[in-house]
């Protein structure tokens, strides 16, 4: 089914001002469990400005064409990590890509590998389960210092890359191993573990390495680099996973 907005081009929206608006087709994977068992594609003609992000275009559809379109978004500036979705087949944050860079027809799907609840909203619990399983918090065995736990700039730099994670799930849901094996921890959980394993203030490295040494741990990684490609924060995810493998191999941190 194609929904075409029949109102004049000057409809309120991102392209309300300026010269004749350019339009783009958004082909969105819709699924509403209250009415259908099957997901289906719907297309929308959306006017856009060169400065519009994909999220603006999707919200334009929600406000002007179909208010039932469901998606998560919060900060809309690439920090909260709510609006990860599969855009033209690759995972992206809708608030970090410009419509003009995506061609004349943009396919939008929920991130893959997690149960879809409605439209672009997926059940994130399995993803958070994997995150919790690697103990993503400071573990110490010494006395608590009276002030802060100091760390040298070099020690801090060791795990700097993996502190940037915003848990949008773009990496985990781009991983073909995760798609096929829901028990695999997935790239994000390994990134979260990496952030503490290589922290000089943390004493739980062995515990976390043991967890990631299990059958569904780092050894399932096939280095396809989908995760590195998907990460909106530019984290070298595959590299982090390999560093954990190396740490397991040599137990030298």
């Amino acid at each position: 089914m194609t929904v075409v907005d029949s109102r004049p081009a000057a409809a309120p929206g991102p392209a309300a001002t300026g010269p004749a608006p350019v339009t783009v087709t958004l082909k969105i994977r819709r699924f509403d469990p209250e009415f259908t068992d099957e997901a289906h594609w719907e297309s929308y003609q959306v006017p856009f400005d060169p400065s519009d992000r994909l999220l603006d275009a999707i919200i334009w559809v929600k406000w002007n064409v179909d208010g039932s379109l469901a998606l998560r978004r919060s900060c809309a500036h690439g920090v909260c990590g709510s609006d990860a979705m599969r855009v033209n087949g690759v995972n992206r944050l809708a608030c970090k890509v410009l419509v003009k860079d995506l061609g004349s027809e943009i396919t939008i799907e929920p991130i893959k590998g997690l149960p879809v609840e409605k439209d672009l909203i997926v059940d994130m619990e399995p993803f958070f389960d994997a995150f919790r399983a690697v103990k993503p918090y400071l573990i110490t065995d010494d006395h608590e210092p009276t002030r802060e736990r100091l760390q040298s700039a070099e020690d801090r730099a060791r795990f700097d890359d993996t502190t940037k994670c915003i848990m949008c799930a773009a990496c985990t849901t781009s991983c073909p191993v995760f798609w096929n094996d829901g028990d695999y921890f997935g790239p994000q959980a390994i990134v979260a573990a990496h952030r503490f394993i290589f922290d000089s203030r943390d004493a739980g490295a062995d515990e976390r390495l043991e967890i990631l040494n299990e059958r569904e741990g780092v050894w399932r990684c096939r280095t396809t680099f989908n995760c590195t490609n998907a990460c909106p924060r530019g984290i070298q995810v595959t590299k982090a996973i390999q560093e954990v493998k190396r740490a397991l191999l040599f137990r030298r941190l």
Partner: protein, 149 residues
């Protein structure tokens, strides 16, 4: 690919289609068996791959390119080579490494792509049986080869 997950009771929705197949092979709460098997399998793949690179290329060069190539390979040629323990060991090591390397690779493929526990189990049984037969038969021939046959 589609596996249905049970719909939560508090939502009046039919079963949700999930493109994901949780296997739950380790039951939650069950005692975790600490094992380095996956680590060793991973290391084995790297080392055997490296060795096989030289063993297989050397084998192909001797059998297919070196003086006369494949045309000169016959019973007598094999008997002549296997008179030396060096070539028997070469072939034995190549057989074992290649078979185990391939078996472990296929084990990974089955783990990745077979969805149902039963399918996984039987595919792996088939795989291990065939690997066992190939290794046994090959090893037997290498050790019991009789040039005067």
């Amino acid at each position: 690919m589609a596996t249905t997950a049970a719909a939560p009771a508090d939502r009046g929705a039919p079963e949700l289609v999930a493109p994901r197949s949780p296997q739950q092979r380790t039951k939650p709460g069950a005692a975790k068996v600490r094992s380095n098997f996956e680590l060793y399998a991973w290391v084995f793949m790297r080392i055997s791959g490296l060795l096989l690179f030289f063993l297989v290329l050397g084998h192909l060069f001797i059998m297919n390119i070196l003086d006369g190539g494949v045309q000169r390979v016959n019973f007598g040629f094999v008997a002549g080579r296997w008179a030396s323990p060096f070539w028997r060991m070469w072939d034995l090591v190549m057989l074992l490494l290649a078979e185990l390397h391939g078996t472990n690779g296929l084990r990974t493929v089955i783990n990745d792509y077979a969805e149902r526990a039963q399918t996984r189990f039987w595919l792996k049984m088939l795989l291990y049986t065939s690997a066992f037969l190939v290794v046994t038969l090959g090893t037997l021939v290498i050790f019991t080869f009789d040039p005067d046959l």
